[in-house]
Amino acid sequence: MNAATLMGLDEVLATFDPALGLEVHVELNTNTKMFCGCPAVFGGEPNSQVCPTCLGLPGAMPVVNAKAVEAAIRIGLALNCEIAEWCRFARKNYFYPDMPKNFQTSQYDEPIAFEGYMDVTIEGDDGEPEVFRVEIERAHMEEDTGKSLHVGGATGRIHGADFSLVDYNRAGIPLIEIVTKPIQGAGAKAPAIAKAYVAQLRELILALGVSDARMDQGSIRADVNLSLAPKGADKLGTRTETKNVNSLRSVQRAVIHEMQRHGAILAGGGSILQETRHWHEDTGVTTSGREKSDADDYRYFPEPDLVPVAPSREWVEELRATLPENPTEKRARLQIEWGFSDLDMRDTVGAGALGLVEETIAAGAAPQAARKWWLGELARRSNEDGVEIGALGVTPADVARVQALVEAKTINDKLARSVFEGIIAGEGTPDEVIEKRGLAMVSDDGALSAAVEAAIEANPDVADKIRDGKVAAAGALIGAVMKEMRGQADAGRVRELIIEKLT
């Protein structure tokens, strides 16, 4: 692939107005699939969670999963949408081997939810939070496709592959697709708004409890539409759609990349091809996928095998009553409760750790301690390993337990880091890791006392200085004792013992 020519971002912004559009697919965590009774869980032997319906066998028919409709309505309500009184599923017809029926059962011109908005908070020019309203066009229900695995060839893509395998376990898993209206007037903030929108949407989905919302596993997938128009133009430019951008950071990077790529093409007198593009996480660039033009005709028509979905207003109101607190309002409340500075709060949200910190506090840790662990050691590991912080394998309960053990002086901060390593390595709970790795501090005064005496004996000069009142010299003896105890001692207690023995 040829590296695209890019234009400097400042130059892009000086010449063009970007318009963004985000399509986010949320895989629901219902027990069963959208239109059949197969389990809808991640993983599983390929093609072990399939039946005539989700395999698209001749004669099989779909039946709507009521739990998925419920989740769709709750998402719609949380996004301040209208909920349709009557809507239908539609068939989106196109051929693809991982789509069993060669049509996707989706919704077309009758989405379950429409006309909503989400207020997105980003950092303003003055460093203060700035709220940007993203308007939601629609949220609709559909089914996921199967997953193709292209075997052989260098790229793992279909071109050059020797053969392809398809796993239909994912086929029919319920998806909610949330589509924004074109986001205009964002200027330089477009990349940040894109990221913040997906991040806040993810928080909202998690708060609703309707999805695992794991971007790394694809249970939330973002497609980024971007176009540039000459500054001040009324008309939107030609857009590209970058598919399956699978981390928050990548959402921002993909927007920047496409702005720079479009800018270079347009400034060079070229025109943008309306197409689907692939995002490459490793190199941070997009490459051309299939061309998407008006010739792409999905021949939508209402799904005749399903009856219309007509949620009663009573049901909708019942569901409205189950909505969790709005995450934006909740954040303001938590900041006050926890005594966090604006910076503390922004860092916590930025790291995607708000919910984790909240749960850790709920599990008994002090707010600052919870923040310290998640934004310190654990954020570091998450960056190093390239894993979402929530996917490290450390639970809020683990963090609260580690903090409690530090406070009880069973371990110190240094040992705590080793405990986290152990948890991440799959060695078990904090207590199990301490047990297995022998990490507990020696709290037995007898053993400590013996080590202190040995250190005094081995360092008579230092001992004399302390006897002469130069208490600061105790550091050398503490170091010797800690070395002897392999760090598993409470330094404060060691100091006390040294002073006791020498004065």
């Binding site: 001749p58 004669g59 049509f103 392809s164 005749p304 095998d305």
Partner: protein, 509 residues
């Protein structure tokens, strides 16, 4: 020839209950008949694509054991049946009359098939049909045509010509058909048998290989009205696997038939549909139709003429909606997961394999409808074709609603003509489509309909059919009025019309 095979299913059920015969004997008698007259693609009736002697006899044996233990599964337990090859049957081939499904063995039973098995009816085999139910003559079957037992140079109707011919030729006392635009009723008419298209949603479609989901309906194919009612009661009712199925009990249909067979229709208002008669209808068919109206009058019915002005657009509407749904339904036949796979030379892509397989696997009529439907749904044409057709469909439904305000049932000839010659219309799709002129409106509106034999046309001595239509979920009316007419006709004839069926030559299979 065993005397049992000429009996109705109701008579066979009584004989089984009385211990006069076993299910194994009945099943074997029908298997023998199939072996004697069914032949193959080149000669004989060719009603069956697959005969499951072993499976049917095993089911019959189990039925006899239940009878012996005094725990029959249903009234029809032990009465054999044939099933149109468009319903999935676990472990036995299901082709829908298409090369593209040749050799496919479904891993699941259609709900209707499951109900038949649960009720104890041994399944003799799968019957021939136009490919994917697309046709009115069974000549579009990829496996060779079925021949009409009345005259083997003629068509048995379609798409369910196999089921109708099997019942007419005494190869099975009962059969299952499906009706999207007349595929149960029109074969019934041209073979002198009874066929019922229940109210849309009255019988589960789960496991029915869809042609047009909003029109398809499974129903009984029999020799008597009472038998249809008995079978309808077995297969009808709500199915959680089909969300379009009606969540209400199927009702006492056999009672309605028995009541009707008394022959008294006093107070019943019968509407003759103005638009379904006259020009284009064979004189002998119209003559038989008028004779039947006279019989209904004589039974006390009030016969009036009713206009359904939008019915003249039914055929055009149908030929937009049906292909649209079919074009999408048939997309799944792509050689990826089941069915015929043709791999072109060279280094073919998945798309190349799909294209080659579909090209080789689908017949001309299927391709014609895929093209029609794809076109009708295309961007820029949708509103003019599919969208407009849906509006006309609503108008046709409103015609029915209005008509049923003044009459209890509507009637017409089932098919404009008697059975035509094999090959006569295969090169003229429009002439073929016209066979369903009178049956299509019921599918568009979802109303139930029955066809029963009402005589032999004077000019050719072939059966004609009488169609009765009732409001949605009023299927019982079909059985009451149908059984009354049947009783009056048989009184005139001195017995069932199939008594006049020519002896079928034994053929060498």
């Amino acid at each position: 020839m065993s005397s049992w095979i000429k009996k109705s299913a109701a008579e066979l059920a009584d004989a089984l209950a009385a211990g006069e015969v076993t299910s194994v004997e009945l099943t074997q008698a029908h298997l023998d008949r199939i072996a004697a007259v069914d032949g193959d693609a080149d000669s004989g009736v060719h009603a069956f694509l697959h005969v499951d002697a072993e499976g049917a006899l095993a089911q019959a044996k189990a039925s006899d054991e239940r009878r012996a233990a005094g725990i029959p599964a249903s009234r029809l337990d032990g009465v054999p049946i044939a099933v149109k090859d468009i319903l999935t049957t676990i472990g036995t081939p299901t082709t829908a009359g298409s090369k593209i499904l040749e050799g496919w063995i479904p891993p699941y039973d259609a709900t209707v098939v499951k109900k038949l098995k649960d009720a104890g009816l041994p399944i003799l085999g799968k019957t021939n049909m136009d490919e994917f139910a697309m046709g009115s003559s069974t000549e579009q079957s990829a496996f060779g045509p079925t021949r009409n037992p009345w005259d083997q140079s003629r068509i048995p109707g379609g798409s369910g010509g196999g089921s109708a011919a099997a019942v007419a030729a005494f190869e099975a006392p009962l059969a299952i058909g499906t009706d999207t635009g007349g595929s149960i009723r029109q074969p019934g008419a041209v073979t002198g048998t009874v066929g019922v298209k229940p109210t849309y949603g009255g019988v589960s479609r789960y496991g029915l290989i869809a042609m047009a989901n909003s029109l398809d309906q499974v129903g009984p194919v029999t020799r008597t009205v009472l038998d249809s009612a008995l079978l309808h009661e077995v297969i009808g009712g709500h199915d959680p696997l089909d969300s379009t199925s009606i969540d209400a009990p199927v009702g006492d249909l056999a009672d309605a038939a028995r009541h009707g067979a008394g022959g008294d229709l006093t107070g019943v208002r019968v509407g003759v549909i103005t638009e379904l008669g006259g020009e284009g209808y064979q004189a002998g068919v119209l003559a038989k139709f008028n004779e039947s109206l006279e019989l209904l009058r004589s039974a006390g019915a009030e016969v009036v003429e009713v206009s359904c002005p939008h019915f003249v657009h039914a055929l055009a509407t149908y030929y937009l909606l049906m292909p649209s749904e079919a074009s999408s339904n048939l997309a799944k036949f792509d050689a990826m997961r089941f069915g015929l796979r043709v791999v072109p030379d060279g280094d073919p892509s998945a798309e190349d394999v799909m294209r080659a397989s579909r090209d080789a696997g689908f017949g001309d009529e299927v391709k014609r409808r895929i093209i029609l439907g794809t076109y009708a749904l295309s961007s820029g044409y949708y509103d003019a074709y599919y969208g407009q057709a849906q509006k006309v469909r609503t108008l046709i439904t409103q015609d029915f609603d209005k008509a049923f305000e003044s009459v209890d049932v509507l009637v017409s000839p089932t098919s404009p003509t008697t059975a035509f010659k094999l090959g006569e219309k295969t090169d003229d799709p429009l002439a073929m489509y016209l066979n369903d002129l009178a049956t299509i409106p019921a599918n568009l509106a979802g109303v139930p309909g029955i066809s029963l034999p009402n005589g032999l046309a004077e000019e050719d001595g072939l059966p004609s059919g009488f169609q009765i239509l009732a409001p949605v979920t009023e299927d019982a009316r079909l059985y009451r009025v149908g059984a009354a007419l049947e009783a009056l006709l048989e009184k005139n004839w001195g017995g069932p019309i199939l008594d006049r069926l020519p002896e079928l030559e034994g053929v060498q299979a």
